[in-house]
Amino acid sequence: MANSTAERLSRDEFFYGHKACAGCGGALAVRAALKELGQNAVSVLPAGCMSAVGFNFPQLCFSNNSIISTFAGTASMLTGIEAGLRARGYSDFTAVGFAGDGGTADIGIQALSGAIDRNDNIIYICYDNEAYMNTGIQKSGLTPFGARTTTTPAGANIHGNLRPKKNMFEIAAAHDIPYAATASIGYLPDFIRKVGKAAQIRGTKYIHVIAPCPTGWGIAPDETVEIAKEVVDCGLWYLAEYENGEFTLNHRPKDFSSVEAYLKRQGRFKHLDLSDIKTVIEARDRKWAFIEKNFSYS
């Protein structure tokens, strides 16, 4: 029984033996992307979950060339590595960064913007688990509305995080980047296809992949992939691409699954009341109205 996605990937494992939590969505995103890119990928990981779990001398869990960058410096280090290798005469490699939501949308956004502005030939992958998980679940710029984190506690007065996620996909696109995409590890073949496509495009590529964190989201370790699918199915996330100045929607759920069911199965949203959920649904509907108006559907 052939699995066309498995068939296209390298049989090598490039991220193995790491100490990520059981069921880690970020680890799956990194593993899948590296299997698509192959052994000449040079990965850059900032301070954060994936570097913390993968690089503790002498337990070094990447079989490809990999390096930790400063927290703010994923994109700038990618730029340097790409330029340095090119200067030394190499052309057959992919400089790829894996930064979390905080490392991308907060502390790393300046360097990312600079790299896109220069159109450096790199792939930047944001594995979005929607909070600073490595330091113990603090709010980031990509924490969704209503989520309980350790710095946005849910109580009688404030129901968790008050602000919606930054829209990093459209922020990247606004730079007129050659390629940007959203993805979810719940739709792994779509993510892998996008990584493969990015590797064929010159210039800066940005891929934003939802990668749930069982620990931070308050779900069981075996639910990671399921919930990453559900967030797309209920319309709170979407699979899309930006290329040649155009937005394309890759997947349109026939009917959205229940937002409430999606939220209520996660510990971080347990406290939300009907009014909060209504707010989430209204925001989703506004977003989809925008998508229907501005994205073509493939």
């Binding site: 029984m1 699995n3 996605t5 498995a6 990937l9 049989r11 090598d12 494992e13 490039f14 991220f15 193995y16 033996g17 790491h18 100490k19 990520a20 939590c21 059981a22 069921g23 880690c24 969505g25 680890a27 799956l28 593993r31 899948a32 052994q39 001398f57 002498p58 337990q59 070094l60 869990c61 990447f62 079989s63 490809n64 060339n65 990999s66 792994l188 069982p214 069981a220 370790p221 075996d222 639910e223 990671t224 992939v225 399921e226």
Partner: protein, 97 residues
């Protein structure tokens, strides 16, 4: 190719590299102790679809001779494989410690 367990696990001061640069994929410890549940492949039911291989966050499942095989040294027992494959070829049981 994948990271693998090495014989040499500790380093004297002289053996520690000058710079923060070392052989890629150098492992000195396993993760098997993390498991509270253990996924078990029913080879009779396994159809070699590779969904479990694809979705394993730890990459511990390979397909050999058309059947899934788990590297229990590094499986953390998250159970994603059992959920992904809906025909019941992977069941989970309590880990015996």
């Amino acid at each position: 190719m994948k990271p693998y367990i090495r014989e040499k696990k500790t380093f004297t001061a002289a053996e520690i590299p000058e710079a923060t640069a070392f052989e890629a994929g150098y492992l000195v410890s396993v993760n098997s102790g993390w498991r509270s549940i253990r996924p078990v492949i029913d080879t009779g039911r396994c159809v070699g679809c590779e969904q479990c291989y694809l979705y394993c966050p730890d990459g511990v499942i390979s397909v050999q001779n058309g059947k899934a095989v788990i590297d229990y040294d590094f499986c953390k027992g998250c159970g994603i494989c059992a959920k992904i494959f809906r025909l019941g070829a992977i069941r989970t049981e309590a880990e015996h410690k």
